[in-house]
Amino acid sequence: MKTDRPVFIYSMTPRGRTAYKQFFEPGDLKKIIEQPGQIRPTGWDLTTRDRARIVGGEYLEVANAERKRIQVYEDGSVLVRVSGDEDFLSWGQNSNNFDQAPRLNTLSLIEFTLNFCKLCSRLVALLEPQPREINLKVELKNAFFGDAKLFLIPHLVSSRTFTMTDDRYYAPEPSMMRNVTVATDELRTHPNVVAYVLIRRIFYWFRVESDEIPYTSVTSNGVRIVDENLIINSRSS
């Protein structure tokens, strides 16, 4: 259903010609999108509890009401629609509060982005031939709705700043699209690095200048990653 409320689209598009083999037949591809994985139970992941179905003879789809929808195409493209309102990525507010002060849930945004990259890392392994590079995109629609503007608080959701909705960074425009091209090997082996790159682009759009994004850490190699241990050990909001 078309919505006027905030909604995100995450997508993966291989660069160059490639394909999933035996695309519509039962196999690993359907298993993966039916069980996309999670880093903790009942977290913000891509699980839909749906069975993959063929739509229009063109793509595979799984969905969970209006919250999550995943569409996979034979050419390797994956699109994920996820609700940006209080139903999912802005979890933790009732509808009235959200309509007046729409606060993105920092943890859900970061955890979902990590889970998306982990799903992509599993899917690209099925592509033949292996593309050298992958385009990843995050798009936000309807960041302005009614009289409200979506905002981000770049702090842990367990922090007082988040709870009190201080330090707000408002969406500067009604919509946003950010594109990142990564090496396929990087996505396959280090989805948490790629997730950080995507998240940083989103935070920059909200004009958050610091690289100190919550739920991230720096590895011994000096690379910043989305740290799933910090997510697993976070307080559920």
Binding site: T3, I9, R69, L79, R81, K137
Partner: protein
């Protein structure tokens, strides 16, 4: 030839023909020492001890496409060019950004009805 001169064995040597000049139309048929007058003609292909006539479909194909190696080569080149051109048109029609935009509209239920 036998001593009576009534029976003998003859050999007709047919030297290899230039493949580009084949096939040859049958202009004369001899049976029992007499030339058979016909109002149709055809082409046969030697196969072991028999002569296999071309079917109508085969004859039609060769009249349309020719049989020489040059004609067949040109036909193959044309087929390959057609494939390349078709593929090229397909690529042109599939700009990645256009494809993404259409798919994003679809997943947002914002597709325009035709």
């Amino acid at each position: 030839v036998n001593p009576e001169g009534t029976h003998g064995l003859g050999i007709i040597e047919v030297p290899p023909q230039n493949p580009d000049r084949q096939y040859f139309l049958i202009a004369n048929a001899v049976d029992g020492g007499f030339r058979i007058r016909q109002f149709v003609f055809g082409i046969v292909r030697r196969n072991e001890s028999s002569n296999d006539p071309f079917t109508i479909a085969q004859l039609y194909e060769y009249t349309q496409k020719g049989k020489s190696s040059l004609a067949q080569t040109l036909t193959r080149i044309e087929d390959k060019l057609d494939a390349v051109l078709t593929q090229g048109r397909h690529v042109d029609a599939s700009d990645p950004e256009d494809v993404y935009a259409a798919r994003a509209a679809r997943i947002l239920d914002e597709e325009e009805n035709p």
